[in-house]
């Protein structure tokens, strides 16, 4: 290996360097500050990764662009779906934002299994980080990445002529909705990871749940046109609440923002609790 001579040289040069800080243990943060600090730490990592490599951001923009461009344009033309008077592509855009955010979040279960296999997870679990704080950090990191992705889709939608709001308060609401939704779906995925424990099995599960979650929601069509049993599924599907809130905020259509936020926040908390409880199984 060619590094050896360099290693010896720097090793002797560095011995002169100061290590005074490495002799002193950092003060533990006060209890209530641990959770936000860990969330910030894990979100910072996510942003650093996005800065180094934006490939995923671009490749993941292809699918939502196709949905809007092909599916959206075609169905706008056909007028087959009752949208309450707005062009179908406008109706569709919030659904596609929620969909692309969910697809990103669902990947986090696979990521945490990969991190387990690589030893990264074990190392984080040996830091003064409660399991719930680690999961919450991951959930918010998923939310952050989804927000970046959502912004890309919003830009694509705007370019296709969708009449979106530019009201900053409403856009802020959009960010919160996307973060909460992605926090839930990433936790759902990490919970399944804690149950199945292997990447191959989780990939199967991921495939098996994402499309049903998408189709059994109001992302593509209103709940009213669904058969009764599907309406029931849609009622317990957090994605429907996410889409409803996004539609209300972005398009100003009638929606139920209060219940939507409550359901999404509750689902995210439940998700964090379930994924944290099962995280120990991954560490074994």
């Amino acid at each position: 290996m060619s590094e050896a001579p360099a290693a010896q040289r720097t090793a002797s040069a560095d011995r002169a360097g100061s290590i005074d800080l490495l002799l002193r243990q950092p003060e533990p943060r006060a209890g209530w500050r641990v959770l936000p600090a860990r969330v910030i730490a894990l979100c910072a990592v996510e942003l650093q990764k996005l800065r180094h490599d934006r490939t995923e951001l671009y490749t993941r923009a292809v699918q939502p662009a196709l949905w809007l461009l092909i599916f959206g344009q075609t169905f706008t033309h056909i007028r087959a779906i009752p949208t309450g008077g707005i062009p179908y592509i406008d109706y569709l855009a919030p659904g596609i934002i929620a969909q692309s955010a969910m697809f990103i979040a669902i990947f986090y279960g696979i990521q945490i299994i990969w991190e387990r296999d690589a030893g990264v997870l074990n190392k984080l679990l040996v830091t003064p980080t409660p399991r719930s704080a680690l999961i919450t950090g991951k959930a918010f990191a998923a939310g952050l990445k989804s927000v970046v992705q959502a912004l890309v889709v919003i830009v694509i939608a705007a370019a296709l002529g969708v009449a979106l709001t530019w009201n900053p308060l409403r856009l802020l609401g959009v960010l919160v909705v996307v973060i909460l939704g992605s926090a839930f779906f990433s936790c759902l995925s990490m919970t399944i990871a804690g149950i199945v424990l292997s990447r191959d099995r989780l990939m199967g599960f991921g495939q098996a749940i994402t499309m049903p979650l998408f189709f059994a929601s109001n992302a593509l069509y209103p709940v009213s046109v669904m058969p009764g049993w599907l309406q029931a599924v849609s009622k317990v599907n957090p994605l429907s609440y996410e889409v409803d809130a996004l539609r209300g905020l972005l398009l100003g259509t009638p929606s139920h923002l209060g219940p939507d936020f409550a359901v999404l926040a509750g689902a995210a908390v439940l998700g964090v609790a379930a994924a944290s409880a099962l995280l120990g199984r991954l560490a074994r």
């Binding site: 005074d20 490495l22 860990r38 910072a44 030893g119 990264v120 074990n122």
Partner: protein, 283 residues
């Protein structure tokens, strides 16, 4: 726990430590004491229970109260306090290849609550201590195997641990990189006086770098002492039995301890796969 017991307590104290995966007793009544400030080597073949013992000490595996203490703190009762005392480098290559060296270390500064005002400086000191100051802003994915190990060492050092736990730190490395990693471990220990608990199955490394070693086999300690004591003891026993020849090495001691049952239980499939994967990535 009062300050008195803390300073007097050994770095690691395992009493009858036992852990089973299903029917397999990976660690089976392990008694072990690591004194503050020493470099202690836990040796044994694959599947001897070294990694399981390490995972119990690092709070990764749940053990009942009273079995494991780190500087007097019970790993079952005071989990967070124990973790603050530990720097842990697992067997797998655990640095994140899609971050730079500096970002990898900064993450661990953050999760150990290093305040912002001293974070950058502390990270720089940790990187310099392992000879990575110049490569700090390169992606870890471009590092050689030896450099990644040293980066992981920096990640562990940034929180100023009192006990550094290294699981097979030189596995899969070529001899020169192995020497490089050990040089930095020795230098850091000399500068900080921290306790080091290391597992390895390279007997030559243990002989050269460890103050004391424990030879583990089938979940228990079968011999314990300084490498010198262990080889001298075997030499005397051999001479008493009338044997001649070269003075025994640590490897001979180990062979005597482990007896003939060495290969049938050495490592299950997952164990070997993870070892090979690590070796593969170190390249």
């Amino acid at each position: 726990m009062s300050g008195d017991t803390e300073t007097a307590a050994p770095a690691v104290d395992c009493t009858g430590l036992a852990y089973a995966f299903g029917e397999t007793n990976a660690v089976d009544g392990l008694d072990l004491t690591v004194a503050e400030g020493e470099v202690f080597g836990l040796l044994g073949p694959n599947g001897a229970g070294k990694t399981t013992a390490i995972r119990c000490i690092t709070t990764l595996l749940p053990v009942p109260p009273g079995m494991v203490r780190v500087f007097g703190r019970d790993t079952a009762r005071e989990r967070m306090a124990v973790r603050r005392l530990l720097g842990y480098v697992p067997q797998q290559l655990s640095a994140d290849a899609s971050l730079t060296g500096r970002e990898n270390v900064t993450l661990f500064a953050r999760v150990f609550d290093v305040p912002r005002r001293e974070r950058a400086e502390r990270v720089a000191q940790a990187l310099a201590a392992v000879g990575l100051a110049d490569a700090a802003d390169r992606m870890a994915g471009t590092f050689s195997g030896g450099m990644i190990r040293r980066l992981e060492l920096a990640q562990a050092l940034v929180s100023a641990p009192r006990l550094l736990i290294l699981d097979e730190p030189t596995i899969g490395l070529d001899p020169i990189a192995r020497t490089g990693v050990w040089e930095h471990i020795d230098a850091v220990r000399a500068a900080t006086g921290m306790t080091v608990l290391v597992t390895t199955h390279y007997m030559d490394e243990a002989d050269q770098h460890c103050d004391r070693v424990a030879l583990m086999h089938r979940g228990r300690v079968h011999a314990l002492g300084t490498p010198g004591d262990l080889t001298r003891g075997l030499g005397e026993r051999r001479r008493a039995a009338g044997a001649t020849g070269a003075p025994p090495t640590l490897e001979d001691v180990f062979r005597e301890v482990a007896g003939s049952g060495l290969d049938d239980t050495s490592g299950d499939f997952r164990d070997v796969r993870s070892t090979r994967r690590t070796a593969n990535r170190v390249g």
